[in-house]
Symmetry: C2
Subunit: 246 residues, 2 copies
DNA sequence: CGTTGTGTTGATATTAATCAACAAGTGTGG
DNA sequence: CCACACTTGTTGATTAATATCAACACAACG
């Protein structure tokens, strides 16, 4: 549906400093590797962000939007006393910039070595004007994220710890629509984020997450070759648990 | 930004039967009373939905999208055993149809007498083609909802019962951006939804919601002339509590 | 080779859920 | 108009799930 071809005035000047600047809004895991957006990404050079480094600070003026081209980042919101809710993980292809407001509604930090492209809001505006099809694509992405966000509300509001962890594992193993499915169910899945991140994503504590992993292992539903990897030993049952049917 | 004028082929045939059909996706309280969308709404006749009646069934094919023109509806997701999470309340002006998927990811039911306009997906597509500015507007709405959804994740994952109720009251009293602010803080705010709905929205039980209301009253933060109305007696402190600063 | 961060496990505390009872409305039909 | 059923809201007693506090194993790292 469309043709986003680089135009003379569309190139981005070299590699912009992206260390810890501002960005935009909301993206949970909706890979945006549609052709239009691939090209969009190609307009800017990816900049590396080291693990543990933040590149969006909640509350900063939202002057840029981002595209994650490699790695994984966590998106989070904070309460004044330090309580943290991770609203999503941004993986390769995730577009960060859908929510429009004066300031960033969330912070973002790399959980493993990551590469991101940064664009100014201004530039996005121009691109959208030039390529109307992109607007439609963004609307689709936003829609997908909205669906995911609602699913997460169900998880946070009504699911048990076991159901939450199962949901997370199942969802994480199945990359966002549009991504190449990595490995079939029995394969090993990498978990680049720490237990604490999973806890903050699921509205639990580290201890509860750890204990739940342990029980899932005892129940032969998963195996963990290392803390940062899971193997699905009974994918179907895990899906059932995630859906609240167990 | 734009001109959505009615065109010969843009009229909707009379009042469509909207009793309990299908709709689309996700909208929390983002009033869409922008001029474009007013006109969009004008293209279809509003149809009444009685309190307690459902007009979107989760899982049904998503063939329509809706615009709430009066009243209040709750949007919810269910687990097989009946656990329910209300993902948002749709008030006058709320546009339901932003998430794009084959089937509705949520159900919708009127909590008070409500009026809705229904459009086919097909018609929306045509309208978006005819009025590109609408696409942009929809993206804005989606962005706002995404921000709200993330805020709700923070609430569900990390806030205490007291903070949740305070957050709900404060947010409900302050209509979505774009709405006319009803009454200043000290005014009385209507709560058309039942305690059980509030509970399912906040990830709590009815009892906990009720007890929390009682404590907020005891603390002179609110008053409840009737179960379906609240008066803010200390709006500032309520806001502080909602933000986790108490 | 100590130091630090992460993950796991155990003991205990606490919040909110569950179970239960009752009060206050609301609507219906007699 | 009242009696009754039924829903909704509130409150109390108890339970259960998860959080909190604490200790320790282990790996990565300087």
């Amino acid at each position: 549906m469309s043709t986003l071809r680089s135009r003379p005035n569309s190139r981005v000047q070299g590699s912009e400093p992206c260390g810890s600047c501002g960005a935009r809004q909301a993206s949970i895991c909706a890979a945006l590797d549609d052709q239009d957006l691939r090209q969009l990404a190609a307009l800017a050079l990816p900049v590396p962000v080291a693990a543990g480094h933040s590149f969006i600070a909640e509350g900063d003026p939202a002057e840029y939007f981002f595209n994650v081209t490699a790695g994984t980042a966590k998106l989070f919101k904070l309460l004044p006393d330090g309580r943290r809710q991770i609203t999503g993980f941004a993986t390769t292809g995730t577009f960060l910039g859908l929510a429009v407001s004066a300031t960033y509604a969330f912070g973002a930090e790399a959980v493993e070595p990551t590469r991101i492209c940064r664009f100014s809001r201004h530039r996005l505006r121009h691109m959208l004007d030039a390529f109307p099809a992109m607007e439609r694509r963004l609307l689709e992405v936003a829609s997908n994220e909205l669906v995911a966000a609602q699913e997460q509300m169900l998880l946070l509001g009504r699911k048990t710890a076991r159901e939450r962890v199962a949901s997370f594992l199942v969802a994480w193993a199945k990359p966002a629509p549009g991504c190449v499915p990595s490995l079939p169910p029995p394969g090993e899945v990498r978990l680049p984020m720490a237990r604490g991140d999973i806890a903050d994503y699921l509205g639990l504590t580290v201890e509860t997450v750890s204990r739940t992993f342990t029980r899932l292992k005892a129940d032969r539903l998963i195996a963990t070759p290392s803390p940062s990897a899971v193997v699905f030993r009974d994918h179907a049952r895990l899906i059932a648990i995630a859906a609240g049917q167990a």
